[in-house]
């Protein structure tokens, strides 16, 4: 299996805090890999480095063999990496449709001159990409929200639209930072279904950060566990669940061997 995303020996410190130290992670094409760990373990920092938001102090990150360690975020997006944020980062003054159309930005070409003339090149491009966006709208079942301004939507739907914006980019690698945070059970199930569909039907590689262990263990192909900036375990959900170091990180020293299932939060 040749890795789509390969993270090798990556470290990052902020001032005196070692957020991530020497983490290796390989994610193969079409895989759904979850990164879990207690708060402050360095999960989001790791994701931020993959999307180019920070650059690591040491180590190397490659996408399909191409080094992206020090590439700017907007160029990484153009390579086909999309993500969502822990705290929703939608464009609140824009409609759902515009948010999703913006997801197509790197797939579109029109500049100022083509746009001001509109009727011609720009219109054809808009219509062509609108079709793809409508596919995403149908997929996420948000047809009735097209013209709504995203700032006015309830939390769960905002999360869904944010996933849609990332999916609209047609990424080969999708990074999801706690897509189910703050959701109720029903919303979580919907979201898990969407993520699985994106992964399986669209063949998108997914790296997922999530605190809900039930969801993580159910939908992941593999799970990597971070603690204090280091990777302490990696494997299938069953392997990770039984790993004594994971149980220690989540529950403390005692009762080694007990399943880590109810550990979240």
């Amino acid at each position: 299996m040749s890795a789509q995303l390969s993270i090798h020996g990556v470290s990052k410190s902020f001032g005196g805090v070692q957020a991530v130290s020497g983490v290796d992670l390989e994610v193969g094409p079409d895989e759904l890999v979850s990164v879990i760990g207690p708060n402050g373990a360095g999960k989001t920092s790791l994701l931020n480095m993959v999307s180019g938001f920070y650059h690591p102090d040491r180590g190397r990150i490659a996408l399909d063999g191409q080094d992206i360690t020090r590439v700017a975020p907007y160029r990484i997006a153009a390579l086909g990496v999309a993500r969502t944020f822990q705290n929703i980062a939608l464009f609140k003054g824009m409609t759902v449709l515009d948010n999703l159309m913006l997801g197509r930005h790197v797939r579109m070409r029109s500049g100022v001159l083509a746009s001001i003339a509109y009727w011609g090149l720009a219109q054809r491009e808009e219509v062509r990409h609108r079709r793809r966006v409508e596919d995403v709208i149908d997929f996420l079942r948000i047809q009735d929200l097209r013209r709504r301004v995203t700032g006015s939507l309830p939390y769960g739907l905002q999360k869904r639209v944010e996933l849609g914006r990332a999916v609209a980019l047609e990424p080969k690698l999708l990074l999801l930072d706690e897509p189910m945070g703050g959701m109720n059970q029903e919303e979580k199930e919907d979201m898990a279904r969407f993520i699985l569909d994106v992964n399986e039907e669209w063949g998108t590689t997914v790296v997922l950060i999530e605190h809900d262990m039930g969801v993580v263990m159910d939908i992941s192909d593999r799970v990597a566990v971070l603690d204090m900036g280091q990777k302490i375990a990696e494997g299938t959900p069953d392997e990770v669940r039984a790993d004594p170091r994971v149980i220690k990180a989540y529950l403390g020293e005692k009762k080694v061997g007990h399943p880590a299932r109810p550990a979240a939060r």
């Binding site: 907007y74 999309a82 939608l90 824009m94 746009s115 720009a122 808009e126 609108r130 980019l169």
Partner: protein, 356 residues
């Protein structure tokens, strides 16, 4: 406009993404355009054209320019009048001193302003919000200084250059109606361009930067490129607006018409009219340009009726107080501007008299 749709009949994405998806909207706008081009120039008085409509149109164009930068791309600027000045002097110099064709001179003015805008846009990658506003304030002063002190640009201490007789493609633009038509044509064409720009890829990128610049970058938008682009396009619009003001309104380029006060007036126009709305740019310009004149006329009438009770100095002060009061009133009623007020009114009347 005000009516109830019976349903959605659009059957293609192209139709759904039209500027005015509803046929009735298109008809109404078409009628307005026909009246503006075909009726007003022939029936309106010289004062209405030269004193009211030409400045309203020119300032509306300036407001559109600032709206692109501030309302759409979210970059605050207090130096808009500086770009207008660069455009005005650029166009007048190209037209008057070098004898270039009129429209080419407008283009030169716009491009000169855009070039200055590009330089001003550079720091916007690092400097945000109020700090950027202060940077643009510096630009305002530097440009004013440059125009008054560089002889080649301003032509002397008063920095006033007269515009020679205007000729467009062999036709003299010497009367009020013709100047009005030149203004209207330029503004309408540039408004259509602006509308196309803000509803497609570039405009979405600007709004994304305005709403959440970090997320915009993660979604593939190069911040420097698009912020610069906003400055360039916005200054181009300001430059052409400045040229229109000097050619059609004052018939001279004079630095006194492009001071910081004007920058703030234009900012006021887009705040009152509505940030991120082209219609708002027109409404705001009309509000700021026309309302003081209307108040003034009303006060004169009041003065006449009151029989000497309202003296001239009372009137002058009362005008400012009333104007300020009305700005406050409209901003309290609808902080998002007149364009939003219009939309709210439309939504309300669509359901009236059965609002459920």
């Amino acid at each position: 406009m005000i009516y109830r749709e019976a349903g959605i009949y659009r059957s293609s994405y192209a139709a759904d993404m039209a500027i005015f998806p509803l046929a009735l909207d298109r008809i109404v706008v078409g009628v307005v355009v026909v009246i503006a081009f075909g009726v007003i120039p022939f029936v309106a008085s010289g004062y209405l054209l030269k004193g009211l409509l030409i400045p309203t149109l020119a300032y509306a164009l300036a407001a559109i320019g600032l709206n692109i930068l501030t309302g759409y791309a979210g970059q605050l600027s207090l130096g808009h009048a500086a770009f207008m000045a660069v455009g005005a002097y650029g166009a007048v110099i190209a037209y008057g001193r070098y004898g270039w064709p009129l429209l080419l001179s407008f283009l030169v003015g716009g491009l000169a302003a855009a070039a200055v805008g590009a330089v001003v846009g550079l720091p916007s990658l690092r400097i945000k919000g109020f700090y950027l506003a202060v940077t643009t304030l510096a630009v305002q002063y530097i440009v004013e200084w440059g125009i008054t002190h560089v002889r080649w640009i301003g032509g002397g201490v008063y920095a006033t250059i007269d515009v020679p007789d205007i000729v467009l493609l062999g036709a003299p633009i010497d009367t009020g109606p013709r100047r009005y038509l030149l203004c209207l044509g330029t503004v309408v064409v540039l408004t259509v361009f602006a509308k196309n720009l803000v509803r497609t890829r570039v405009g979405r990128a600007w709004m994304a930067i305005r709403d959440r610049d970090v997320a915009a970058e993660i979604m593939g938008i190069g911040l420097l490129r698009y912020k610069m682009l906003a400055f360039v396009v916005s200054s181009f619009y300001a430059g052409v607006a400045g040229a229109l003001i000097s050619f059609c309104f004052y018939q001279a380029a004079n630095i006194e018409e492009y001071t910081l006060t004007i920058s703030i007036r234009v900012l006021g126009m887009i705040i009152i009219g509505g940030m991120g709305s082209l219609l708002g740019s027109y409404l705001g310009a009309a509000f700021v340009v026309l309302l003081p004149i209307a108040i003034s006329n009303a006060m004169v009438a009041v003065g006449r009726v009151s029989g000497g009770l309202v003296t001239t100095d009372v009137r002058a002060n009362a005008e400012l107080v009333i104007f300020g009061g009305l700005i406050l009133f409209f901003l309290i009623v609808e902080p998002l501007g007149l364009a939003r007020l219009w939309k709210t009114l439309k939504d309300y009347l669509r359901l009236w008299p059965f609002p459920y």
